[in-house]
């Protein structure tokens, strides 16, 4: 019985438990003439939960621990001599597992019977070829020791699985029966199942934490490898970014960070005022028709794939800025520039600012407006002097979300700002950002284990820490200024 079948059967048991529990509660209530504490369904649920949850826990733990246990026992039996020539012990174990799996497949498909298997030995049979027929790839031919280990692995696993199935069933039945037997009208069945739901909700909120752990974990390992190859102080303090194919690269983080800031700054300098004006206009001035049409229309801007913006920057905005602004002013002849990427990205960010701010502005209590109008202020005075300050913490939140997007954006920067990492002030020069370099170093043609590729992980991690600090700061700001009204 495979784990999935096992899961399904436990689920089946749980469903049966549900109906039995429900029925028992109803019967007991009728017999004793007492009122049920909870709705009958909750009694069913509690029985079902007790049937399934402990069993699943056991199964999960078993699935996790059994391979570890078998592995250590088998691996101890493989003589060192078998390992010396074939690489590390763990590699051998990978082969053992794979062969065991393949053998099971062979038997499943009827190519080999159990008896034939016990007679089979690696010297006589070409195990590798035979396994290939069922789609199991092996790196090399199978040595007898390994094959024997695999057979043993398989047999231990089979018996382990057998015991597991029995145990899981027993646990399901046992707990289920216990819960069923416990069912009586005064039992707080609802509380039991709600506690379980609460645990589920709590678990869901843990996904965010796990994701973070996963991200840090998957970045950290390669980052460490990077810092072994490349000095950290050069990475953090050097002002040149110049990867080379044959090593000796300069991988300074600063120009990228500067580019990130510069481009984001330009983008936000466009998006924040325009987005805010849109929000104010829609919230305070616009009639319902305009609002009903303009709000979703502007939100569409956020849904257009960024590659479209990128092409727009590359083909239209870049040359326009160069021909009409940069060249006449003598600021350069580059069509890809911080300005190009920033402006186009700004357009993309408008809805982030406008939509969120709109909600926040609407949430400013009417009393604030009344207070101001009552003093004879005009609408714009009220907006500028009362509503905006009151909505500021929320707007900071919107700003931060937009800033996050700006920092994380790739396509627009690649096509709009170019790929040149440099520290400069001229907004009409090409620059690049951290995210762009993460993508390009990761998908480049350099060898993977070189600092030129691994730097992507270090960049990702650094950026992660950076945005984390930004967010903590934001939380602090919002906390500090929140609840001024209410």
């Amino acid at each position: 019985m495979t784990p999935s079948v096992l899961v399904l059967s436990v689920l089946g048991l749980a469903i049966v438990g549900y109906f039995l529990g429900r029925q028992r509660a109803l019967q007991a209530a009728a017999r004793d003439g007492v009122k049920l504490h909870s709705l009958p369904g909750y009694y069913g649920q509690s029985v079902a939960l007790f049937t399934a949850v402990p069993a699943f826990f056991l199964l999960g733990a078993w699935l996790f621990l059994q391979p570890i246990a078998i592995e250590s026992s088998i691996s101890g039996k493989i003589p060192d001599s078998a390992i010396a020539d074939a690489g590390a012990r763990s590699l051998i174990m990978v082969d053992v597992r794979r062969i065991a799996k393949g053998v099971s497949l062979l038997i499943e498909q009827g190519d080999v019977t159990e008896n034939e298997l016990s007679d089979m030995s690696a010297e006589v049979t070409n195990v590798r070829a035979q396994l290939a027929t069922v789609g199991v790839a092996l790196g090399s031919d199978v040595s007898p020791v390994v094959f024997e280990a695999a057979k043993e692995y398989r047999s231990i696993e089979l018996s382990g699985d057998f015991v597991r199935n029995i145990a899981v069933f027993l646990v399901a039945l046992g707990f289920g029966f216990w819960a069923w037997a416990r069912v009586q009208p005064r039992m707080r069945a609802r509380n039991i199942s709600e506690t379980f739901v609460l645990a589920l909700l709590m678990g869901s909120s843990m996904v965010a934490i796990l994701t973070t752990v996963g991200i840090v974990g998957s970045l950290l390992f390669e980052s460490v490898a990077f810092f072994k190859l490349y000095p950290a102080e050069d990475f953090f303090l050097s002002t040149t970014w110049n990867p080379q194919f044959r090593g000796g690269s300069d991988l300074g983080f600063l120009p990228l960070l500067w580019g990130t800031f510069y481009v984001s700054f330009v983008a936000l300098a466009l998006a924040v005022p325009i987005g805010l004006m849109i929000a104010l206009y829609l919230a305070e001035y616009a009639g319902t028709t305009l609002r009903g049409f303009a709000k979703p229309a502007i939100e569409m801007l956020a849904g257009i794939p960024t590659i479209v913006y990128g092409l727009f920057a590359l083909i239209t905005v870049g040359p326009f800025l160069r021909d009409w602004i940069a060249q006449p002013l003598g600021l350069g002849t580059s069509s890809s520039s911080v300005m190009t990427a920033g402006l186009v990205m700004g357009v993309m960010l408008i809805p982030f600012i406008s939509s969120l701010s709109d909600d926040i502005i609407n949430a400013v209590p009417q009393a604030m407006r009344d207070g101001s109008y009552g003093l004879g202020a005009t609408k714009s005075e009220t907006i500028r002097r009362v509503i905006l300050p009151a909505a500021l913490p929320g707007i900071v939140g919107a700003f931060l979300l937009a800033a996050s997007r700006a920092i994380g954006e790739t396509m627009i920067v690649v096509m709009g700002a170019g790929a040149a990492a440099q520290l400069g002030l001229n907004p009409f020069e090409a620059m690049t950002t951290v995210t762009v370099k993460i993508v390009s170093q990761l998908t480049g043609d350099t060898e993977f284990a070189s600092p030129e590729t691994l730097v992507a992980f270090a960049l990702g991690l650094t950026l992660f820490v950076f945005t984390l600090c930004l967010n903590i700061l934001a939380l602090y700001i919002v906390r500090k200024y929140r609840e001024q009204y209410e």
């Binding site: 209590p365 009393a367 604030m368 407006r369 009344d370 207070g371 101001s372 109008y373 009552g374 003093l375 004879g376 202020a377 005009t378 005075e381 002097r385 009362v386 300050p389 009151a390 001024q484 009204y485």
Partner: protein, 271 residues
């Protein structure tokens, strides 16, 4: 407190014997919220330098009438006003009227204290600043001090003028709102249940303040508390179901009202 309210009544009696000067006047005021009519032909004179109390059961249109007096109802889209309301004989609903200036002359204090989320100083100076009544720092300081003194708040907050207005207690906040209204030197101050969110001690303070302000300003106050109306007002108007049912000197209204409804309401038969 008793002494004070008695004094007020006395003053009111005096005021009545003089030639009454009319500050604002409502003529056949009807108000509609969309389809629904909230006020029916209200005719009411507001006397200068007196406190006029609007009383009546919930939903009878007190707030609606009050908000007509400085056109705060304009902010409600569906609200339409017909009839005429004059401030010193100028119709405030005339098309050429500038609402902004109207509201500078007819200030308002609301039920829930609503200080701006700014410092106390900024709260007070806000009105004068937008109306260009203050220019220099010194002028501002002066306006702030004067208004807070008038509102009886200065001593309590003089050391923390630059702290947030929202950090004050409810009663202080309401007095700050009054100071804010006073700061633009209005002629009329409208108050919509200014004490209903306050505790008794704060209420007493605000009532005292209203009595003092009467000397310089014309005050219209909406209240649910008959007691409060009796304590602070010289004239009382009784609304019921959108109609003005009775109006007159407060002491007469509370002792010998003309209409049966007023009598029933005051003696607690309903409301």
């Amino acid at each position: 407190m008793n002494i004070m309210s008695e004094a007020a009544t006395e003053l009111a009696v005096n005021a009545q014997t003089e030639q009454p000067e009319i500050k604002m006047r409502g003529k056949d005021v009807c108000v509609f919220y969309g389809e629904k009519q909230a006020l029916f032909d209200v005719n009411l004179d507001i006397r200068k330098n007196a406190v006029t109390a609007l009383i009546g059961p919930s939903g009878c249109g007190k707030s609606t009438f009050l908000r007509c007096l400085n056109r705060m109802n304009d902010t409600i889209d569906i609200c339409r006003v017909s009839g005429e309301i004059t401030l010193e004989d100028e119709n405030i609903y005339a098309p050429m009227i500038d609402v902004v200036e109207l509201r500078a002359r007819v200030g308002m204090v609301f039920q829930k204290p609503n200080p701006f989320p700014k410092s106390i100083y900024e709260n007070v100076v806000y009105g004068p600043r937008i109306h260009g009544q203050v220019r220099s720092r010194a002028e501002m300081d002066e306006v702030v001090e004067r208004s807070l003194i008038k509102a009886g708040l200065f001593n309590e907050v003089k050391d923390r003028l630059h702290e947030a207005g929202t950090g004050l207690s409810g009663g202080q906040q309401q007095r700050l709102c009054i100071a804010r209204a006073i700061a633009v030197s209005p002629e009329v101050i409208l108050m919509d249940e200014p004490c209903s969110a306050l505790d008794p001690i704060a209420t007493a303070k605000v009532e005292e303040l209203i009595d003092e302000l009467r000397v310089n300003y014309t005050i219209v106050i909406v209240t649910h508390s008959m007691q409060q109306a009796a304590r602070v007002s010289q004239r009382t108007a009784m609304f019921h179901l959108g109609k003005l049912v009775d109006e007159g000197p407060t002491d007469k209204m509370f002792t010998n009202p003309d209409s049966k409804i007023t009598q029933d309401y005051i003696t607690g038969r309903f409301g």
